[in-house]
């Protein structure tokens, strides 16, 4: 297991590359989902307020 983790001595480079790439991708996923929910809440509030005006 230790050999696997050390990546033939290049552990820092290999693991940091993977961490950064997948990290950015996960961050984008989280941001997109949160953005979706924000839009949904905004739409819900907007329709609710329109309902009230009618």
């Amino acid at each position: 297991m230790a050999a696997f983790l050390s990546m033939g001595g290049y552990a820092a480079y290999v693991w940091s590359s993977y961490a950064i790439t997948f990290g950015i991708m996960i961050l984008l996923y989280v941001h997109t989902k949160r953005q979706g929910e924000k839009h949904l809440r905004w739409l819900r509030r907007r329709i609710a307020s329109q309902e009230k005006q009618k």
Partner: protein, 250 residues
């Protein structure tokens, strides 16, 4: 009359069509990503020259390929915005630009990390890395223009024009950077094409790329769907959808 029908139905249809597609895509994506990671980190033999550091290729090359692929996808939607005035394309273009920028950034960072063990420097003015850097600025340009224009539709159309100018520019930048690179450093095989890539090394690379493509489709579907709801906020189908379901997320 066709245009009117085509416009109205396409956004609504696309919304409900993609709803069924997403779970399937996520399942395939997860399976592929696990398989590719296993292939990349464990089953692929270490490179006789670079040792295990070559495993960075499995994140760097798919990201680089995806950064180009996403820009091509943006070019396609740019054409359909300007020529066929497709509303869905306007939304798609603004939705996928950040995804492309993310892939370009990942390709740049992993490229320079990979360079450190090989050339001893964090940044190497290698032709492919430099073209990738210029591509990042093309993405940032499109995103900056989209942000600068308030009206969503004019913004999408202006960004489409900029994107098409960018499409024409990518091969020119690539070739001129290649020319400039060979001029100053002599014709060396680019550091990233390891001459003969062993079949066991190649399979994870391809599956990882397909996994990245699925990731791109899933994220852009999420972004497009939420943009559709905002875009058609006045229409009845959106109002019914919002009020009817207690759904927390899209």
């Amino acid at each position: 009359m066709f245009k009117l029908f085509y416009h109205y139905s396409s956004l609504r249809n696309f919304y409900f069509f993609s709803e069924k597609l997403i779970p399937f895509l996520i399942a395939v994506f997860l399976a592929l990503i696990i398989y590719s990671l296993y292939g990349a980190l464990i089953s692929a033999p270490a490179d006789y020259q670079q040792g295990d550091s070559f495993r960075i290729i499995y994140v760097h090359v798919p990201s680089a390929w995806m950064s180009l692929l996403v820009y091509m996808a943006m070019g396609l939607s740019a054409v359909s915005v300007l020529v066929w005035r497709v509303k869905l394309a306007e939304i798609t273009l603004s939705a996928i630009a950040p995804i492309g920028a993310i892939f370009t950034l990942a390709a740049l960072v992993t490229g320079s990390i990979w360079g450190k063990p090989m050339w001893g420097t964090w940044w190497e003015w290698d032709a492919r890395l430099t073209s990738e850097l210029v591509l990042l600025f093309l993405y940032l340009g499109v995103i900056a223009l989209l942000r600068a224009i308030d009206d969503r539709r004019t913004g999408a159309r202006a960004a489409s024009i900029l994107c098409l100018i960018g499409i024409v520019n990518i091969p020119i930048v690539h070739y001129s950077v290649e020319w400039w690179n060979t001029l100053h450093q002599g014709p060396t095989v680019s550091k990233f094409d390891s001459p003969s890539i062993h079949i066991d090394m190649l399979i994870p690379l391809l599956t990882m790329t397909v996994a990245f493509m699925l990731y791109f489709i899933i994220i852009s579907l999420y972004r497009i769907r939420s943009a559709i709801l905002v875009y058609d906020k006045e229409t009845q189908w959106v109002k019914d959808l919002i009020t009817s379901s207690k759904r927390e997320q899209i």
